[in-house]
């Protein structure tokens, strides 16, 4: 079955009824109960601190299993939409930057065609950890995104395919988010599963015979799943300032840990930020 037939099938199964949706991570923090269908946008800018462990070799440079990293970051949450076309970014999101077009929407659900980059470049020139390896380019994925708002729950699915011939693989994901209020604190939780086809994982995490070395032994990867679990809280400090914090656990397929480019089968992140809402 071709990619687009599968994408259409996923969209139809998940959204049999018929709104312009947004990034799930951003929406659930705002306590969204429906899609945003008008022209306009919003902008939030702030600063934050994150403490994390990474399962990926070289991300960040010099990363080792279980090593704890601390980084300051600029917290940006922004979205602009005009006649269905939109761009959105949220530094605490699972997708970060997305551009797209809303082509079908109902009262509490929407289907968009989106484009985003899900995998960063791995290049020995910019990261010495990758020296001796072939360059792995970043990808650009395109495909439908369906979002449904069901009371305090938000469900979002992606069916994306690489369109710049980086790896020509596909990425499918489903995420379920819930938000609830305790006094003026707004809590959220997200669980999600992502399937990457062999083309994607093979491109980024396999070591072929030509580039294999003592440091990077040959490894061949197959398609695999990864999972995320996240809980967090958002608090309105004032009408223009919000505090956000979350803890995220990422679990990757244990078979992948045999790749020299994977150092662990899980990673955690704790982040807090204060942002100004324009």
């Amino acid at each position: 079955m071709s990619y687009f037939l599968r994408a259409l099938l996923v969209a139809c199964i998940c959204f049999p009824l018929a709104a312009v949706a947004g990034d799930l991570s951003s929406d659930v923090r705002k306590g969204a109960s429906g899609p945003d269908s008008g022209n306009g946008g919003y902008l939030e800018v702030g600063g934050g601190l994150k403490v994390f462990t990474s399962p990926l070799y070289g991300e960040p440079e010099g990363n080792a299993q279980g090593e704890i990293h601390t980084e300051a970051f600029i917290d940006i949450s922004a979205r602009y939409q005009y006649n269905g076309f939109f761009v959105e970014m949220f530094s605490q999101s699972l997708e970060q930057f997305t551009a797209g077009y809303n082509f079908y929407n109902g009262s509490n659900w929407a289907i968009d065609m989106i484009g985003l980059s899900a995998h960063e470049e791995k290049d020995g020139e910019t990261n010495k950890d990758y020296r001796g390896l072939d360059r792995r380019r970043f990808d650009v994925l395109l495909g439908p995104r369906g979002t449904a708002y069901l009371g305090n729950y938000i469900v979002q699915v992606h069916a994306l395919k690489d369109i710049v011939s980086t790896h020509e693989g596909e990425v499918y994901s489903v995420k379920l988010a819930r938000h609830w209020q305790h006094r003026n604190l707004n809590f959220h939780a997200i669980v999600g599963a992502t399937y990457r086809t062999q083309d994607v994982i093979d491109y980024y995490y396999s070591i072929d015979a030509a580039e294999a070395s003592e440091k990077f032994p040959e490894f061949s990867a197959s398609g695999g799943m990864s999972y995320i679990f996240e809980i967090g809280a958002t608090y309105p400090i004032s009408e223009s300032w919000v505090f956000r914090g979350f803890i995220r656990h990422t679990q990757i397929d244990s078979a992948l840990t045999k790749s020299p480019l994977i150092v662990d089968d899980h990673g955690e992140m704790l982040a807090t930020a204060i942002s100004y809402v324009f």
Partner: protein, 142 residues
């Protein structure tokens, strides 16, 4: 020319000042005649901030009141039948109130001698994210 200062016509400013003084005296006399205390009611803070529109907002507020004489006073939430708190033979007081509402609430200080509403204070609600869950601004990128 006669330079009698007393005979000079009063200036417009003096006339205006005189009128104000008379009005104040009249108001004072009327108030005294009605024997209604003068009171003030204040809420600190007077605004509650919730994340998005429609949410119930929670805020601990302290309501301060002060009257110009001792008496029996009660604090009411607007349209409530029962008072939140009453004071006997007091000229001032404070009340810690657990505000929880999705709409602004008006508080009232009532003199129990004649059931007169003496003072009001409103607790407003503000949201970070306005209607439709997302803040719409008017800036344009293109």
């Amino acid at each position: 020319m006669d330079s009698c200062a007393v005979c000079q016509r009063p200036s417009p400013k003096l006339l205006l000042f005189s009128t104000w003084v008379h009005l104040l005296v009249l108001v004072f006399c009327a108030q005294a005649a009605a024997d209604v205390p003068i009171a003030q009611l204040q809420s600190k803070p007077n605004r509650c901030v919730a994340l998005h529109q429609g949410q119930v907002c929670y805020q601990e507020v302290i309501l301060y009141w002060h009257a110009d004489r001792t008496g029996e006073y009660c604090l009411y939430q607007q349209q409530a039948q029962e008072p939140l708190h009453c004071w006997q033979a007091q000229a001032s007081g404070e009340y810690r109130y657990a505000f929880a509402s999705d709409t602004p609430v008006q508080m009232q200080l009532v003199s129990m001698n004649d059931k007169t509403r003496l003072a009001e204070a409103q607790i407003d609600i503000a949201w970070v994210y306005k209607a439709n869950t997302r803040r719409k601004t008017h800036w344009r990128l293109f």
